[in-house]
Point group: C2
Chain length 393, copies 2
């Protein structure tokens, strides 16, 4: 008990809120924030105008359904078509979404003005309330508010990050680059075994590239594989940047990869599993995702290359049967769907890759190369692929 008291006392004494010390806050892009606010005000202004003119208030939002997505062959990215949907206040099927959209627009404006950011979950709580005189809640669950936020991104033609909203943070980075994150210089050559955690928001006001001596980016699927490459100092011996996205990379990682690729002219090589999930991750990195097609321009990397694991590796590398993981029905259906994607459809090499996998009847993970040697993947597999330039495009 004595100990407990001491701790309490010590804590009480020590807790000094030194607000004067608070010298650094979030780096704010005032110009961009002002533009975003202007867009939100325009959306709201039109609603006000209609109301005053005794017309039905409404606004239109580009349609985010699959039918309104198209693959732009020239740009090699997924894009949205021109179809739009109207959201009217007096339409029973639309009024709920109409009100939710305005509610979250208001929330975003407040966020931007407060110079703060919030998670998707946070936005849900921020907008959540019971409508006075009813038992009706503004949102039934977070899914509803997430959808509306995506609508808003499109309607306002602003990245979610510009609305100051962020998704879950995942993924780490090391390598021959120094970045400036919110004013802090981070030398990714000196990040130990843990690495630099890639932020949710990697927009230019927060994140700048200071010095980069790397020749390329190696993006791997899993943190455990990343640890193998970091421990073997692959980024040092091969002069590159090493990233991972813990599976399907979150927006922060995709945006980071995109910016490094565009601004620093670095090729991006992806080391992913030989299974439909790995192929899908590649597809999203390269062409964009169907759900977020309106962001492809700022997220997709059409020049990204798929390094492997390849379905021919089983024979090419003389792997043992132990690496085989049987494809289940879901895998097989998924593989066929992916092969039919318009950006894979015309590519002979990808068609062959998926066909070979289906004929093999099994998938393979990057980690399975450990059956050859602990460091086979860093010392043989990737160096050989890089030397031979043998990638899927």
């Amino acid at each position: 008990m004595a100990k407990k008291k001491t701790t309490k006392k010590k804590t009480k004494k020590k807790i000094v809120v030194n607000k004067s010390k608070k010298t650094k806050t979030r780096v704010v892009d005032k110009k961009r924030d002002a533009e975003t606010i202007k867009k939100i005000e325009k959306l709201a202004g039109n609603v006000v105008k209609s109301s005053l003119a005794q017309k039905e208030p409404n606004f239109s939002i580009p349609t985010r359904s699959v039918s309104n997505m198209k693959y732009n062959k020239k740009k090699r990215i997924l894009e949205m078509g021109d179809a739009t949907q109207t959201r009217s206040l007096f339409n029973l099927g639309q009024s709920r979404k109409f009100m939710q959209s305005l509610l979250l627009s208001k929330g975003c404006k407040e966020l931007i003005q407060a110079e703060k950011t919030l998670s998707l979950r946070g936005m849900y709580y921020m907008g959540l309330h019971t409508i006075p005189g009813t038992k009706e809640k503004t949102f039934n669950d977070q899914g509803e508010s997430d959808t509306i936020l995506e609508d808003l991104e499109v309607a306002l033609d602003g990245l979610r990050e510009e609305l100051h909203v962020f998704a879950k943070k995942r993924g780490t980075m090391v390598g021959n680059i120094t970045v400036v994150d919110n004013g802090d210089e981070i030398n990714c050559r000196k990040m130990g075994t843990g690495g630099y955690a890639i932020p949710s928001i990697c927009e230019p006001n927060i994140m700048q590239f200071k010095e980069c001596t790397a020749d390329f980016i190696l993006h791997v699927e899993k943190d455990t594989v990343w640890s193998r490459f970091n421990e073997d100092r692959f980024w040092e011996t091969h002069n590159c940047i090493l990233t991972e996205g813990s599976g399907q990379p979150p927006r922060g990682v995709r945006r980071m990869l995109h910016r490094m690729h565009k601004e620093l002219k670095l090729p991006v090589y992806c080391l992913l599993d030989c299974d439909p999930w790995g192929h899908y991750i590649y597809s999203v990195i390269k062409q964009g995702s169907i759900n977020l097609a309106f962001e492809s321009e700022r997220m997709a990397i059409p020049d990204a290359k798929f390094m492997g694991i390849r379905s021919k590796d089983y024979e090419r590398l003389d792997l043992s049967d132990d690496v085989k993981i049987e494809l289940n029905d879901r895998d097989i259906n998924r593989a066929k769907q992916i092969a039919a994607y318009p950006w894979f459809e015309g590519k002979r090499e990808w068609q062959r890759e998926i066909k070979t996998m289906l004929n093999n009847g099994f998938k393979m993970e990057v980690e399975s190369l450990i059956t050859k040697d602990i460091s086979y993947v860093t010392e043989e597999y990737v160096p050989t692929r890089l030397q031979e330039g043998d990638f899927l495009d």
Copy 2:
């Protein structure tokens, strides 16, 4: 096509494996590694001895079942009892595990000698093969090899990290501390919005604490909440270290918290959800987990405090009904189980906490405080709890 070629060419030219540059590798604790190898050799040596003496080879492993766990009231941690299990080669029910144990011991020895580490999945692949002349695989799935690795930890009385095996990496850190990770100095005051990714292995050979001016550690459940605290520079205004474990903190984060608490004498305050999952996370941080009870001594923090969210907060903070998330049957059962844990059983305050939650009929998340204000949690909630010293023990 022209572009594609250029990229390839460029890559080919640039890929220079400069092995001479490879000046830094993993910091090795030769003494500890030698001790671990000695333990492995002893285990194997006894098997050889029995075999040569024409006796049945076997070894014994401490029993990891719930029945062999006990709560040490003095140390306030979960510990293993003295019960052991024998693994004999000629016992049909034990021979498979007997062979798997030796196989993975061999793998760990190779890892240590190679001065490398490997993930749990990696260990599975490393030991995976088909026994010649049969169709029998050494492991049916990773679950089997994970279990054996936990057995080995106990049998060899070495942390998994000492066997050079690591689990998934999750969790980030910022604050008033400088650590040295594999020789790299990492100033956690200058980690931007992303933060320092806490490594899977935080043992003293890899990780040292260089300079710490913080008064305490605030550990939060989720990365999104962590981002709120980091953006508001809470660690700066309140002179602390800010960590998150993305839910149930992985071993790396637990070990890091434990070491900072022990070696730097920092109190640990946990900001978790008011639900059985939050309570369980607290229980694991404080007393250890049932599954890994043999590691409590090096992982558990019996002095950790539960800061909230508290079930009385709904009334105390005058929260709106919108923060309520109804308890389901699973939650209710889980809450009753947790209330019966021996370390909560005798604590009146915890009994009241769980009872109030059950009476309320709802749970609450940390994020729900956003219904009051975006920064209510950083500017009001946590500072007030710290000032009042109002925690659950």
